[in-house]
Amino acid sequence: MKVYSLYILNKAGGLIYQNDVNPELNKLTANDYLVLAGTLHGVHAIASNLTPNIPPNGNAGNTSDNVPTASGTGGPAQNNSTLIATGRSQNPNSNRTGLQSIETDCFNLYIFQSLTGIKFIIITSPNTIVHNVQTSAVSLDIEDQIKNYNRGELVKQCQLANELFKLIYVAYSDYVMKNPFYSLDMPIKCSLFDLKVLELVK
């Protein structure tokens, strides 16, 4: 998994950091990048509203974090009950059920939202196994195709991306948030952070 670029969005969806580490994708204009950031911000929120009604025995991953109250749908009473039950406060900004990944022919895109509503977005190279699917290959039986291309590769790659997000988040807290000259929600201009990001993704 090769990282092409890293973007950071503030909680209003504004682009506050952009680092094209391995520029292999199209260059857009500065305005287009702002539009891209805003679109992803909106789409992230919309995706959480589309959650299908998963049957209770469905394998929806770890259950405790899946409670839809995190998306802010539960009333204040429900928020209090989760606070009492788990001892953790749920910030309405921390939308854990929002959009996580996008797969296309040329790249994969991963989104991670922190508890404070900051979004980290990385664009990586596509997954090699899933990438090579030929939809027009009629020679293969459909069940064979499904078995060949559904080995949970994307979930694994998503976990890898999440590991990377944690490291980037640590660097962000250390080199941006602890920078006395940085004001919140403003563009990040910090050479130490640039350096750390390069170290992490290279």
Partner: protein, 151 residues
């Protein structure tokens, strides 16, 4: 596990929707006009814009960077788009990586035969029109429900 299937035509209308509940019959064409399907179309449309903008290289022969799927923590949506502007969307759990082959088969073997070659069905669906062709509904159902990954 596969949750539902939506088909949008080139005028952005949802012309077929099928939800499988895994307990009872589920619903056919029940949520074509619902907010959920409109939001779903909006999602597909915006994400497709992003992927075309970022990924389509001007100097290569490759025509367009196509969106394959996107996922949240709870579900993954697989996409397949035809040259005529039809958009097929299949919603499954996150564990399934690529179901584009299934969508391709729905298009080539079911949609073409039961809707396009069918002289009784409209060429262009008007607003509010849906695919109510029982052959189409039955064959899509048997294809998807016959998959090993359906449950």
């Amino acid at each position: 596990m596969i949750y539902s299937f939506h088909l949008f035509d080139r005028h952005c209308h949802c012309i077929y929707s099928r939800e499988w509940s895994h307990k009872d019959e589920g619903a056919v064409n029940k949520s074509n006009e619902s907010d959920a399907s409109k939001l779903l179309f909006g999602l597909i449309y915006s994400l497709k814009n992003i992927s075309t903008k970022l990924g389509t290289q001007a100097n290569t022969t490759q025509s367009q960077n196509l969106l394959k799927s996107f996922a949240t923590q709870n579900y993954r949506i697989h996409l397949y788009e035809t040259a005529s502007g039809l958009r097929f969307a299949l919603i499954s759990d996150v564990g399934l990586d690529n179901l584009q082959a299934v969508l391709h088969r729905i298009y080539t073997e079911i949609y073409l035969r039961t809707v396009v070659h069918n002289s009784l069905s409209p060429i262009d669906f008007r607003a509010g029109e849906k695919i109510s062709n029982s052959n189409f509904i039955l064959e899509v159902d048997s294809l998807i429900q016959g998959l090993s990954v359906f449950q």
